[in-house]
């Protein structure tokens, strides 16, 4: 692991003002270094998903800065679309495009954004499909796939843009228990290849095994962060101790 900082988050706050004011994030600061796997854990409503969605500006932060590869992407003058191409995202509910084949799902962005020719993109997509064992489903539609297959496709779809960081928003929460393993395996192999990853998850086993650093959030704040060993075996924060005791 190098010490090169890929994403720098400073004093991030997010307030939702629909019906009543909800302070989802209350001053979050952290760094994500290149090649690092950061796992974010915490109870429901702790702000961990909002934090992740702020990283590629799917949620516009209320205040604070996010510096990605040296550029403050919270600046309204920055063209966020260019930077999003470098940040792959995987959603809880897969969000594959139901009207496109698996192959088209994967190639639509690189081709239509003129990052690659159709042939190049398809060659790359096929290579990635082989890697996750789904090459035979290239011409299937998402509705013909199982949940685990859909999520593996969603991961390689994001990889087709050759991102510098992958953001995972509870990637296994909507899956049958039997299918969690196949998705985690893909994520593990990604981590082993040195991909920078920020993962919001309830899979503590994954956090322990793959995470370089674990962040515990509650009430829109980072209450504790450290190595998996530190967080799981020697938790300092009382709220974290309570959270972990309920899990085990």
């Amino acid at each position: 692991m190098t010490t090169d900082v890929l994403i720098q988050v400073r004093d991030l706050t997010k307030t939702f003002t629909s019906a009543s004011e909800i302070h989802a994030l209350n001053g979050v600061s952290t760094d994500v270094r290149r090649g690092e796997v950061v796992v974010v854990i915490g109870p429901s409503g702790s702000g961990k998903s909002t934090f992740l969605r702020c990283l590629n500006l799917l949620e516009i932060p209320t205040s604070g800065t996010i510096t990605f590869e040296g550029v403050d992407i919270t600046d309204p003058k920055v063209n966020i679309n260019v930077h999003r191409q470098k940040m792959g995202m995987v959603f809880q509910h897969f969000n594959l495009f139901p009207n496109m084949t698996v192959l088209r799902n994967m190639t639509v962005a690189p081709v239509e954004l003129h990052r690659k020719s159709k042939q190049e993109a398809e060659a790359m997509a096929m290579k990635l499909l082989e890697r996750v064992g789904l090459a035979d489903r290239a011409n299937a539609y998402p509705s013909q796939l199982s949940g685990g297959q859909k999520q593996r496709i969603a991961i390689v779809r994001a990889l087709c843009m050759e991102p510098d960081v992958m953001l995972f928003d509870e990637p296994t929460s909507a899956l049958d228990p039997e299918m969690v393993g196949e998705v985690l395996d893909v994520m593990k192999s990604l981590a082993k290849d040195g991909m920078t990853m920020v993962v919001v998850t309830h899979e503590m086993g994954f956090a322990r095994e793959v995470g370089d650093r674990v962040i515990f959030m509650d009430g829109g704040k980072i209450l504790e962060e450290g190595s998996p060993e530190q967080i799981f075996n020697h938790p300092q924060n009382a709220r974290l101790q309570e959270f972990l005791s309920k899990l085990l």
């Binding site: 629909s18 590629n56 799917l58 516009i60 309204p76 679309n81 260019v82 999003r84 191409q85 940040m87 792959g88 995202m89 959603f91 509910h93 969000n95 594959l96 495009f97 139901p98 009207n99 496109m100 084949t101 639509v108 962005a109 239509e112 954004l113 539609y141 998402p142 509705s143 013909q144 779809r157 994001a158 843009m161």
Partner: protein, 242 residues
């Protein structure tokens, strides 16, 4: 029975064969088709544009900065709302006559004016159909598109609109069928469309049965043919649904 058949035959000859009166129907059919096609085209273009403006304004309401562009966009949205209210709140015949006798009083290209009037009318209905289609697409689809690096317009074009259009196709076909039949009031502004053609024959032969039934049959066949066409298209688009 024989006598009844003979009189039917005589009626047919009187209304369609004598004086080549069938030509009225043929010409009328042409006018009806031209008005419908032009109006349908204008309606879809107008409708999609308005649907885009309205749904974009609603979708981007949260967290929008109150810039000048945003305010102008708000004005545009208001204009669209007024258009929808006025068009959907008044009868198409009245709109047609206002456009023909008031706005384009000095023009004499009745077919184009009628097409414009019906197109403006249809656009309002298409706009609401398409907007419903756009709003029915799960926001996750939109977010997936944006997260891959598509900008707003590209996400709409490549991800949302194709799915929305597929969902609204039956409603759009319905609107087109309604439009085809609505053009039958074009006679109000002296357009010799299919309905008017039947009426002209009737006024010459004083025999209402044959021309009116013929006109009705032609509309029916047109609608059935179009429905069949749309059914085929729908089955092709349903490929991904399995």
């Amino acid at each position: 029975m024989q006598a009844w058949f003979e009189s039917l035959k005589a009626d047919f000859e009187l209304n369609f064969i004598q004086g080549n009166r069938w030509k009225f129907l043929l010409d009328g059919l042409g006018v009806t088709l031209i008005i419908t096609l032009l109006a349908g085209l204008l309606g879809v273009v107008l409708g999609v544009i308005i649907a885009m403006i309205r749904s974009t304004y609603d979708k981007t309401a949260e967290g929008a900065r109150k810039t000048l562009g945003r305010r102008l966009f708000g004005v545009l949205d208001k204009v669209c709302r007024v258009y929808l209210t006025v068009i959907r709140g008044t009868p198409v015949v009245v709109q047609l006559m206002i456009i023909y006798f008031v706005i384009f009083a000095s023009s004499n290209n009745g077919t184009l004016i009628a097409a414009l009037a019906f197109g403006l009318n249809s656009g309002a209905y298409v706009a609401e159909i398409v907007r419903g289609g756009i709003m029915s697409i799960d926001n996750g689809q939109f977010e997936a598109g944006r997260s891959l690096g598509f900008n707003y317009v590209q996400t709409m074009r490549f991800i949302v609109i194709p799915q929305a259009m597929k969902n609204v196709l039956p409603s759009l076909a319905n609107e087109f069928i309604a439009l085809l039949k609505e053009t039958s009031v074009a006679g109000y502004v002296a357009e010799k469309d299919l309905t008017k053609a039947g009426d002209i024959i009737r006024s010459r032969t004083y025999s209402p049965f044959m021309p009116l039934i013929a006109v009705a049959l032609i509309y029916l066949v047109l609608v059935m043919f179009f429905s069949w066409l749309v059914g085929k298209l729908e089955r092709r688009l349903r490929n991904s649904d399995h």
